[in-house]
């Protein structure tokens, strides 16, 4: 390759402090002066002890938390868009097209059948219903989710089953940037291996990822570099 | 209609000509003119107490009182008949307070006051048909708020009226409503034709006479001037239809008039006769005969020994 590809996400001078107005104005500084980039094929793994701010950073990148300062620019439809200052419509559009997120749990679980839930990201991006269904079926099979569950809403599923639905929703289409917050936490070894393979496939196709993996085997299998969040801890 | 208000001998009277005082009559005439100018529009008026209870047609009586003059010939029908207690008393009332000639002959009358029917015989220019109206607001059954129904008329929002027809079809497989069937006047105002059978609705369209409607309790007057377009509401796939009968009139044999069913005895024998009693009598006088001609009902007045 002649020139290195552009980063898909660029974080500059990011800081996050929580202010708890109803707890006497308690201030919880988490990180500051944080710089981070991820380019196609890269999988940056956030590291650090519990409470250091890994999830907080991840959520700030996704537009779920509001950073105190700094910018998170995402290459969206050919241009860098700062998600921290974007309008709700723009954030939703970035999430729909560019930025995928696998949280540890399914947050909102409406009573929609699993198959439909997995098809949704495709339908929202203009894929035909037939193709979306075929792809959702193939992926759910790959993830070895029993077919009898596909027509049921995931609200009654086990943690591991729900997690696979969650993963399916994020891998059903190629998001240029994928944020992974312990996607394999509640999976058994076999399923973890399947997810590792999905991640590698996506990376080799040019996705950029930022992830949190407590499982060292998984981390070693996917990480292209580690990013210690502690380094940006606010000086006490 | 002649100008009763300017009669020279008026001052000599002990009572107000045609019962109402001149002030009131002028007010009612103004409302009538407004109603005629806006066909189908419900013009408010200051309804007066009348010597009959509401439901006896106080609105119609006030209208008649406001337009009648001594040269008028007055006819009053109730359910198509000239001889019911109501019709007879109202006719006597006007004979006394307005000094007018009365008649049962539709063609001869200049003012016809009616409840529930339009005469079978086509009306002519110069005649006035006065309707007694219990509920002037066709939308009232569906929308209780007066402010809202007023706005609907003002802005020609008549979708709601179709809801009642829709309900009818859903319930009966056809538009089963038979009386007080709503019409559009001049494609502008939705109007209740008072509780006449829908059989009579087509007679309102392009009629030569003036049709006046009065609601006493609700204090509304509305009108259809001569040659006005009056269309009964319907759906594209459920067009408006009038009632028809298998039978002919038992007395005069009429095939095209509105028939009343009359139960004859406890054995369930019945007959169908014209609801318009004058029309039926006239046909019989002309020599038309029905299957039960000569039945005692054919000559009730004679039976009374009058």
């Amino acid at each position: 390759m002649s020139e290195p590809s552009k980063p898909l996400i660029i974080v500059e001078d990011l800081a996050k402090t929580f202010t708890l107005h109803n707890a006497g104005g308690t201030v919880i500084p988490v990180f500051e002066h944080l710089f981070l980039e991820a380019s196609p094929g890269e999988c940056v793994v956030l590291s650090g002890d519990s409470g250091v701010g890994k999830s907080t950073l991840m959520r700030s990148l996704f537009g779920n938390y509001v950073p105190t300062r700094g910018s998170v620019r995402v290459l969206h439809k050919g241009a860098y868009v700062d998600i921290t200052g974007a309008s709700p419509q723009v954030i939703l559009d970035i999430r729909r097209r560019t930025l995928g997120y696998v949280s540890q749990f399914l947050r909102v679980i409406p009573r929609i059948p699993t198959l439909r839930l997995v098809m949704e990201p495709l339908l929202e991006n203009g894929v035909s219903i037939e193709e979306a269904e075929a792809r959702a079926r193939a992926l759910l099979s790959d993830l070895r989710l029993p077919e009898r569950l596909w027509t049921l809403p995931p609200s009654t599923f086990s943690g591991g089953e729900q997690q696979r639905v969650n993963i399916a929703r994020s891998f059903i289409r190629r998001y240029p940037v994928l944020l992974l917050d312990e996607p394999t936490a509640s999976l058994d070894a076999e399923n973890r291996a399947i997810v590792v393979q999905l991640i590698r496939d996506a990376l080799s196709e040019g996705a950029a990822m930022i992830g949190i993996f407590h499982d060292e085997d998984v981390r070693d299998a996917v990480a292209t570099r580690l990013f210690p969040v502690l380094a940006y801890k606010v000086a006490a | 209609m002649s100008a009763a208000a300017t009669r020279p001998n008026e001052a000599e009277r002990y009572y107000n000509y045609a019962y109402l005082d001149e002030q009131t009559k002028r007010m009612i005439r103004r409302a009538i003119l407004k109603a005629l100018a806006i066909p189908g529009y419900q013009a408010p008026f200051g309804s007066r107490e009348m010597p009959v209870p509401y439901g006896w047609g106080t609105g119609g009586i006030q209208l008649t009182a406001a337009i009648i003059g001594p040269d008028d010939v007055y006819k009053c029908i109730d359910q198509g008949a000239d001889d019911t207690t109501n019709a007879v008393s109202i006719r006597k009332f006007f004979a006394r307070v307005a000094d007018v000639a009365t008649t049962e002959d539709t063609a001869e009358a200049t003012i016809i006051q009616t409840r529930h029917r339009i005469p079978e015989q086509p009306l002519k220019a110069g005649q006035v048909l006065v309707f007694q109206v219990p509920q002037p607001e066709p939308l009232r059954g569906l929308e209780a708020r007066e402010t809202e129904t007023r706005a609907m008329h003002a802005y020609e929002e008549y979708g709601l009226q179709y809801v009642s027809l829709y309900e009818n079809i859903s319930a009966f497989g056809r538009i089963a409503a038979t009386a007080g069937y709503p019409v559009m006047v001049e494609e502008r105002y939705l109007m209740s034709p008072s509780p006449i059978p829908k059989f009579d609705n087509p007679k309102m369209d392009d009629n030569e006479a003036i049709l006046l409607f009065g609601a006493g309790r609700e204090k509304r007057i509305y009108a259809i001037p001569p040659h006005t377009r009056v269309r009964s509401l319907d759906f594209e796939d459920y067009p408006f239809e009038v009632q028809t009968w298998e039978e002919n009139c038992a007395l005069c044999g009429a095939e095209d008039s509105y028939l009343d069913e009359v139960v004859l005895d406890d054995a369930g024998n019945r007959m169908f006769v014209c609801s318009d009693s004058h029309h039926c009598g006239q046909r019989r006088a002309e020599g038309h005969v029905g299957p039960m001609a000569g039945h005692q009902l054919a000559n009730p007045v004679a039976e009374d020994g009058q």
């Binding site: - | 569906l142 802005y155 929002e157």
Partner: protein, 264 residues
């Protein structure tokens, strides 16, 4: 409409410095925001914070004391809704909008059948073919998962949840651009509420509808809304993406509101 078009489109609703006073009591004050086609906006806040007042002002039912509400009408384009003549405004409300009330009694005609309630908006738009309207009604009853054999029953014979489904169908059948909802699941018990919410969420997404939904229930807000306005004493104290406002609330009042809900 695809996401790009949705984004590129002009605002559907524009609210500027809207205030409504009841004498010296504030209903809502200085509210400004824009909404785009297909967006679902949630208005949250405690009782008496001005949610209903704001919704009434937005939906043309209550003239603001000051400020402006502009809507992209089908017939007149972007218009100040209180600047339109009354018949034009009423026509816009009929053609472009829906309104789902908390109490079905306020949103349904209790004297006519469920089916006629659903079909009425079509008649209001001038449709005059019974058979076509009947089929459209049946299709909508199916869509809101009601037993179509009960199409001719009166609303009072339906349960609260079913009445709300009739209301939803009645407010969507004519293809509105914007639907207002005031606590649409407020009077229902929890399981009925959950099913109705799922249904509404699905319909709103499938139809690409814009919705303004008032609720004091954060779970309802999270499920339905893309974006929230948080109201307190008549003022908007915080606004933003729904998950942002609920997961990382910035204003003291929002933090209190969110923390007072155990599990959302």
């Amino acid at each position: 409409m695809s996401a790009v078009e949705r984004l590129a489109s002009e605002p559907l609703l524009r609210v500027a410095d809207l205030s409504r006073w009841y004498g010296s009591i504030v209903g809502c004050r200085d509210v400004s925001f824009e909404m785009h086609p297909g967006e679902v906006l949630g208005i949250v806040g405690e009782s008496g914070s001005g949610k209903t007042t704001l919704l009434k002002c937005l939906s043309g039912h209550l003239e603001p004391t000051s400020g402006k509400v502009e809507f992209d009408t089908r017939r007149h384009g972007m218009s100040d809704i209180y600047g339109l003549s009354e018949p034009d405004r009423r026509r816009m409300q009929r053609e472009d909008w829906g309104f789902v009330h908390q109490n079905p009694r306020d949103g349904l005609r209790m004297r006519v059948s469920g089916g006629a309630n659903v079909a009425e908006p079509l008649m209001n738009l001038g449709r005059r073919h019974y058979g076509e309207m009947r089929s459209a009604t049946i299709a909508w009853l199916e869509r809101v998962e009601l037993d179509t054999s009960r199409i001719d029953d009166k609303p009072r014979n339906f349960s609260g949840g079913m009445q709300q489904r009739i209301q939803v169908a009645r407010n969507l059948i004519h293809g509105p651009k914007l639907v207002f909802m005031d606590e649409p699941t407020g009077g229902l018990d929890v399981s009925v509420q959950a099913r109705l919410l799922d249904l509404m969420r699905e319909l709103v997404r499938d139809l690409g509808l814009a919705v303004i939904i008032v609720t004091h229930d954060m779970a309802v807000a999270r499920l339905m809304a893309d974006r929230l306005l948080v109201m307190r004493r008549g003022e908007v104290v915080e606004t933003g993406l729904t998950d942002q406002v609920l997961d990382d609330p910035q204003h003291a009042y929002t933090q209190l509101l969110v923390s007072s809900v155990l599990q959302i």
